[in-house]
Assembly symmetry: C2
Homo-oligomer: 406 residues x 2
């Protein structure tokens, strides 16, 4: 008696979530200290102390003023979110990235997943195509399916895991309604630097002219602030007019379970006013109604706060150096908190299962539309990374990898 | 370049939200004290103090233990929510209503709107029919449209605003996948008492047999605790096996903007295990991912708390008595915080516009599938109700109503 689509979803259920559950079960069996669970992007760093202070400050303010009705903390507001919160975000972005946003360019969302779904609901008709750059966050497939749209994969350049631009250009059709960019990238950790972005933008400009269509570039940027080695935080509306930004505070403030983010629509985007109105309506009608009230006000007070990036950087170096020395071939992450490792066996399944023997939980690359690799989420404790290295060593020995001794 | 469905939604935008915006604009122009805005179900009572204490206690607990990773406050958890939270809710329901729930029967949701959308995604195929009892919360139409299903209205008995059971029975077809009950009712304030519920259940049982189908009864119950005049809180799984409950803490704890609620699926419901799995997947793939983390833990500590019901009761009496005396014909509310008033003019539009002249903001009944009435949301301050009465008096005079002097 359940729906046909959901029955299909039972089969294609999230590989990441499945490994997360398997990791939990293994942790219960062998003890959490003896399991190296790299499955889920669940930040190990706590939220900055300022977030807790903001939350309790707001609760106190409401207690003192709430009875008089002058200060609303937990109530309904506009479907797009509190005007003051949106204004604070707009001004913060303008200061950091030289944009020209006002409160009406910002729609508060139930995280980035909520953000992408309301963008999709606003722009996608059945049969429309959304191009993604492989490897990519597999949930995009489900989000597009919600609106009967089709995900079209563009291949990566396997030397640097930037998009293969020739393949990208060949995948754009008159049905292409949107392209998703996710930089710093999940699952590779690669950053699409200004040069790459300019090339992507120029292909989009050309194809828009060729087909007389508008193609939206959706920038899914929960990892915006997680950059290493002196790389700069970037904001993509500067490259291409029709860019819509979907942001989440889940990584920058370590708040993934709170479901708080926003969508930014620049005034120069095609049909900007209709887009914004569509986003507000979609927020309401898809059942989000609005982004959580207290969290909206709390993040607005923490826009200059950042999680402990040095913490992730230490894990990054430890894991990348450790695995490279053992003979694994890895993409050196420039941002986010994922390590993308080439599978040294004939197929992924063998490798992932071999890892499990040593209590290492990895997610196979095919979950990201790119077989032959695995993703390791190193947003775990330093101890987990350190203690996993002897387990990886045993795995490397079992697979007869040659160590890199330089 | 926006989607066709969203373009259509621009036309049929929420009448409630439109009046809410109009009320705000009027308040800016004439001062909030001079506008009597009865448009939105935004609770005027603050959240019980226990909610604030729970929130700040959790933040403190996380600060003390969070660095060690032993206490997670803001992170991802299972898509269905924290097991401990779900267990606490299950046990609380069992104690209060004699149900037999365990944690796996509860799925935490982003409010009741999120709950109904994941139920719909789980059970509805395109073309399926969902029966609603007029008058009903108009957003159900949008939620069904999200899944290309069809809303079928069953008429009310205009003497008591309970369902006209003959009409209801005639509307059930082999395509009927679900029926929504909302008691205490928005917009009428009527309670479907045990006798009415037994009759509805018996019709459903018969039709299930006749068509060899399963028909789910979806109980949308954000107003469960808001009952007056000694009426009892009720829980509908006891009447009919295939009942799915969608609950929100938005009214009982005055937290509508926090988007926190749950869906309860009894183990005896048809395909219960598939339903629960479908709800979890839908929570993830529609972009909710999970109910907000901190709020899950906060409400679990406040399950025996209740908003100030006496506050609403005072408004209820004041407004019902006041309007009745002035000659308006109203349904006496038994629960929720809405007053359902018969329009004394030829059409709704004239009445709603006449009200605006006296700064009274009402929502027309056709927004609830029942023309000829208006809804007044009396979840406002006592002052607003008191001060609105002279305005209603002027309105009554303009319309030449005869006062009831008894």
């Amino acid at each position: 008696m359940i729906s046909r689509k959901i029955k299909e979803a039972f089969l294609g259920s999230s590989a990441i979530r499945a490994m997360f559950v398997e990791g939990r079960e293994m942790a219960e069996k062998y003890g959490a200290d003896n399991v190296y669970d790299f499955s889920l992007g669940n930040p190990a760093t706590p939220a900055p102390a300022a977030v807790g202070r903001a939350i309790c400050g707001l609760v106190k303010e409401a207690e003192e003023n709430g009875a008089a009705g002058s200060f609303q903390l937990h109530g309904y507001m506009e479907n797009a979110g509190y005007v003051k919160v949106r204004k604070a975000i707009a001004e913060n972005l303008n200061m950091r990235f030289g944009t020209d946003f006002d409160s009406e360019n910002i729609v508060m969302t139930v995280g980035a997943a909520g953000g992408i779904n309301i963008i999709f609901k606003t722009i996608l008709d059945p049969g429309d195509e959304v191009i993604v750059f492989a490897p990519y966050f597999g949930e995009y497939r489900q989000y597009a399916a919600n609106f009967d749209a089709r995900i079209v994969e563009a291949a990566p350049d396997l030397t640097d895991f930037l998009p293969d631009l020739t393949d990208f250009a060949s995948k754009i059709t008159p049905h292409t309604k949107a392209v998703i960019v996710n930089t710093p990238n999940n699952p590779t950790g690669v950053i699409y630097k200004p040069d790459a972005m300019r090339k992507i933008a120029s292909i989009l400009e050309e194809k828009q002219k060729e087909y007389h269509t508008d193609i939206y570039l959706i920038s899914d940027e929960p990892y915006r602030e997680l950059v290493y080695d002196g790389n700069q935080e970037d904001f993509l509306t500067g490259y291409y007019r029709n860019t819509i930004v979907s942001y989440s505070f889940s990584k920058s403030l370590s708040l993934p379970g709170e479901r708080i983010g926003y969508v930014a629509v620049p005034r120069e985007a095609a049909d900007a006013a209709d887009l914004i109105r569509g986003l507000e309506i979609s927020n309401r009608t898809l059942g989000f109604v609005n982004a959580p009230s207290l969290m909206q006000k709390a993040v607005a007070e923490c826009l200059d706060e950042k999680t402990d990036i040095a913490f992730y950087d230490e894990n990054r170096k430890l894991l990348y150096d450790g695995l490279t020395k053992l003979g694994f071939s890895c993409v050196k992450p420039e941002g986010a908190f994922y390590l993308w490792v080439k599978v040294p066996t004939a197929d992924e399944e063998t490798f992932v299962n071999a890892g499990k023997k040593y209590h290492i939980i990895m997610v196979k690359g095919s979950a990201f539309g790119c077989a032959g690799y695995v993703r390791l989420a190193y947003c775990v404790s330093h101890e987990t990374v350190k203690n996993s290295l002897p387990a990886f060593e045993k795995l490397a020995e079992e697979l007869h990898l040659s160590k890199n001794e330089e």
